[in-house]
Structure formats: structure tokens, C-alpha cells
Amino acid sequence: MSTEYDLQKIDDYRWLIPKSGGMLVPGLIFASENMLLHIKKDNTTLQVANVAHLPGIVKYSLAMPDIHWGYGAPIGGVAAIDAESGVIAPGVCGYDVDCGIRLLRSNLKKKDIEGKVPELTRGLYQNIPSGVGSTGRIKLKTGEVKEVLKNGARWAVERGYGTPEDLKHTEEEGCMPQANAEKVSQRALERGREQLGTLGAGNHFMEIQEVTDIYDEKVAQAFGLFPGQITVMIHCGSRGLGYQVCDDYLVVMGRAVQKYGITLPDRQLACAPFKSPEGQDYFGAMAAAANYAWANRHCIMHWTRETFMQVLGMSTRDMGLELVYDVAHNIVKLEEHKVDGESRPLLIHRKGATRAFPQGHPSVPEDYQEVGQPVLIPGTMGTESYVLVGTLQAMDETWGSTCHGAGRAMSRHEALHRERGEAVRDRLEAKGISIRAGGWKSVAEESPNAYKDVAEVVNVCHQAGISKKVARMKPLGVVKG
């Protein structure tokens, strides 16, 4: 599919889509020249330009280096919208509200789990429900779901899933205060009753990793990372509850677009003024879904620790499976940012993009204040993942945002036709990576060959300065939803 928009080179890592038609601001894509082939072949420049039509958008419609074709906004898109005069758009957050990543560090080195990775992977697969429509070990009444929506990860900690220390290392400390469970539909609440503590399907995963490279000693030390260390990465979101919130509010926003006379190039970008009842209701419901996601990842983290204890016969103290950080990469946040030297409240829509706040920012945990916020970038089943750190430049250029992953380069359809899941498994096992999955079809769809080179994505972020490389981890064991 060809693009309707030309790209103007600013420098080796920045490409401008000039303002035209109904665009209120230009588009700005962070990418290397090599990545442009994919970007142009896809429909993504059009989607970046479409986001630029949203009322109240400030400066640019941004795209991170892992940009690829989504729906409404591109995946890898960031939009800052004036909170006083602008809109809020569910389609620029996505259906899986607060889909995110968390990383656990350990005191373990590879020799400590030598020969036990298959057992650990099997244990994680057995102890943590995964797969299409997976339901969990926690069954909630509707009133209890509302408590999760209100309190987020705190709800989990109060019931023994995780510790208060974990909360300090979670974005928003695992709870957006703007959450309003009363604005979440009965259908969404119903979907939340049995899915807390479940991984789900698609690209969600858990991974046992080994730290192979340290790029910044000082920052790595602050994050508690060292070469040869075993880490665990968890990727999932708000499950059916979040999907339902987005779906419900796209209907609300469809009516709001007519009510407020908003003109948009794509119905998936349906929105309402943030200050309107519709805008406030969505923000409250979206924040509630985000809290559900943080509680979800907290429960999964707890069972991850239990699994390691069972398999290795070690105490949590000896293993030291502590939370490095948890980041959301599908979310709308109300943040203060400088616009032309003046601090203003902006609604930062991140769809497939990660917050990347710098050292000294009040939202960064106390023990990371001197270095900045950890940024967690998963690779694919067969390739490395990265830890980066937020930068001042990200605050200046991208509203404190950076990439969120490798980004797909190939459709699931094509991936399925190219390779069978069993062949992907064999290839990974030949590389020493143990894998457990609910079905081989999802393994084929998520084949490493279906993704861009995560190293190139991360290098563009690093070179452009919107986050800096800290550490690299290679996969040892993978659980796929």
C-alpha cells in the first residue's frame, strides 16, 4: 500500500510529514533510513497524519522507531493534546489499555538455573493461566472488580500478591488516581471477574532471560542489573475488561463527534473534548482499566516468584526476584510538560510507546532519581530485549516517550504461511531457548522473523537521544499466551 504523504529528512533519525490538508500540526517520525522502506510500504504515514487532525494536538503527531500499521493511530504513536481545549481519543490508546512490560531482576546467574530452564518454563506455564480467553485462579465478585479498578496494584499487594516495595517500582505506583469504576460498563466488569492474573494470548509472553551486555555501568548498577544475571520479563495488559472499555467508549465518542461537531479523517479516532462529560467518563474508565492491568501483572509476578521458589527450592530473599520497573505502553496520561517554555497540562496518548522520564523527574522512583526511569523494550522470542533509561531530550522532543518493542514487519497471515509453529520451536530450542505455548499457531504468528530488528529500533532511540541503552538480555525460556 502506498503512502499519500512524503517524508522530509531532518537528520539521520528524524523525518517530517509537513502539515497539509486538515492536519493541525506536522508529523514527526523517528526512524533510520533503512526503516523507511517498511514505513512507506505500510499505511503508517497516513495514520501519523490522521492523528495530526485531532483537536488540541500540540507540536507534532509523533511516531517512535517501532512504528507500524495499526488502526486509527499507528502503533508506536504519541500525541500530546492540550488538556484545557483538546480532546481525548480511545483509539489513540488502544483496546488493550495499559498493556505493559515489567522486569524482575534476581541474585541468580545462569549457572544457578543450569538445566532447570525447561522446568521453570513449564512451571510458569502451569502456574499462570495463558491463552485465548484464559480465566484465572482469582474469581471476583463485581464489587471486588470495582475495588481492583479503584486501587490497582495496591489491591494485589493488600492480598499478598507482591510487596509495597514493588509498588514504588511501578509506573503511577500501579494506580491512576483518576480511575472511576462507576464509568466502567457492566459488560466490562463481567469480563474482569475471572481474568485477573492471566497472561492472555497474541503477543503476550513471559520470558526468563540472561543479561548479556551492559552499556551504562552507572545506570545498570542503579537498576540492580549486572552481566550474567537472570531476569524475568512479563508482557500483558488489562484483558477483556480493557477491550470492553475501549469498545464501549468508541460508541460514546462516535456520538460525541457529532454532538461537538468534530471533523476527523478516520472514525477510529473518534474523540470528545477532555473537559466534556464524555471525555471525563472515558478518562475515568480508561484509568480504571489501567489499574486492572497493573493488578494483573502484580499477580502474575507473585506466581512467577512462587514458581521459581518451587523449582529452585530457594527463598525469595536468596533469589532476590525484585521488580526493576513496570511500564505501560498503551495509555493516556495527564502530565505536565513545557510548551514554549511554559508548563501546561497535556493528555499524552501513548499507543505502543513507553514513558521515558529523565533523572530528577518527580514521577521517577526515589532510588532511580539520579539516573532516570527504566524503559523496558522486549525483543521477540528469539532475540534480545533491552533496558533503556529516560532522558531530558525525550522530555523536550517526545513528551518523555520512546519506543515499546521491535514492532511487527510481517502480518500474522504471512508468518503462518512461511513457517510452522513446530519449526519455530525447533529453531529456538536449537539456540538453547526453551518454549511453552498454548498452541503452535500463535508461536508461528509470533516468529522472530515476523518482527523488525529490535536492535535497530533501540539504536535509533539511543542515537536520537530519546532514551539511552543500559543493558541487553537474551532469552533462555519463553511462555507464549
Binding site: Y71, G91, Y95, G133, R191, G202, D247, R412
Partner: protein, 136 residues
């Protein structure tokens, strides 16, 4: 003219649907969606059920129709076969169908939603068609 066919999409799933009239287009869209989700044809026979959906216009109605069926599939684990659309107005749809119960594991792909992205219904001669992107 195929009733439905899967098209490539980098991150999600995309389907082209055709029908000799609008009602058939809506029925084929439902059949195609079940195909993408990997839903098996067999199931425990259920009773005839009714589905009513309202929308702002035909395009909105199409998205809401599919998302209503998706909710029933993902949450209630039911699939509708032998769909008969009784009423199809620009803002209202009434359909009936045989409801079959599935096991949760019968659904192979978790379709999160039928999206509105570039969603439109076109008519060329006597053929209605549309392209739908599903979030996966």
C-alpha cells in the same frame, strides 16, 4: 466474488467481505469473523436467539454487530450459525440465529474488537463490499 477473504495486515487481522445485498454482507462479515477467530463449525446445538443492535449509520451498525457477536463469542462462548437478518435499517439491526455453545479452548484467536479504521461499505453494481480490521 468471495463471501470473505483474509488480507494481510502488519499487526492485526484484515478481512474483505462481499455480499449480493446489505443483509448478506452483514451475515458474511459475521461468518468471516468466526473464521478468523478459528471457531469450529461443530458445537452443541442451542436454541434460536435474537440479536438487536443500534448504530449511528450502516457503518457504525456493522462494527457494533460484529462487536456484539464478538462479546458473545469471547465472554459467553457462543457462536451464531444460520443467521437470518430480519430487519436492517440504517440505524437498527434485528437478527436471529442458532446459538451453539463452545468450549473456551475452541476459540483459537483472541479478536479484541472489530475496529472502525477506514471502515466503509461500498457498492459496485449489485455487489456490496467492505474491509474490516480486527484488533488482535
Amino acid at each position: 466474488m468471495k463471501d470473505f477473504e483474509e488480507l494481510a495486515h502488519t499487526a492485526d487481522m484484515r478481512m474483505r467481505v462481499s455480499g449480493r445485498d446489505l443483509k448478506t454482507l452483514f451475515i458474511n462479515a459475521a461468518r468471516g469473523m468466526y473464521y478468523l477467530a478459528g471457531v469450529p463449525r461443530k458445537g452443541k446445538a442451542g436454541r434460536v436467539v435474537s440479536v438487536e443492535v443500534e448504530g449511528l449509520d450502516e457503518v457504525d451498525l456493522l462494527a457494533r454487530w460484529l462487536n456484539e457477536l464478538l462479546y458473545r463469542l469471547n465472554v459467553k462462548h457462543t457462536v451464531l450459525h444460520n443467521i437470518d437478518i430480519k430487519t436492517l435499517l440504517p440505524t437498527k439491526l434485528h437478527a436471529t440465529g442458532n446459538q451453539f455453545h463452545l468450549k473456551p479452548a475452541d476459540v483459537q484467536v483472541e479478536l479484541k474488537a472489530a475496529t472502525y479504521h477506514n471502515l466503509k461499505i461500498t457498492r459496485e453494481g449489485k455487489v456490496f463490499s467492505t474491509e474490516i480490521i480486527f484488533d488482535v
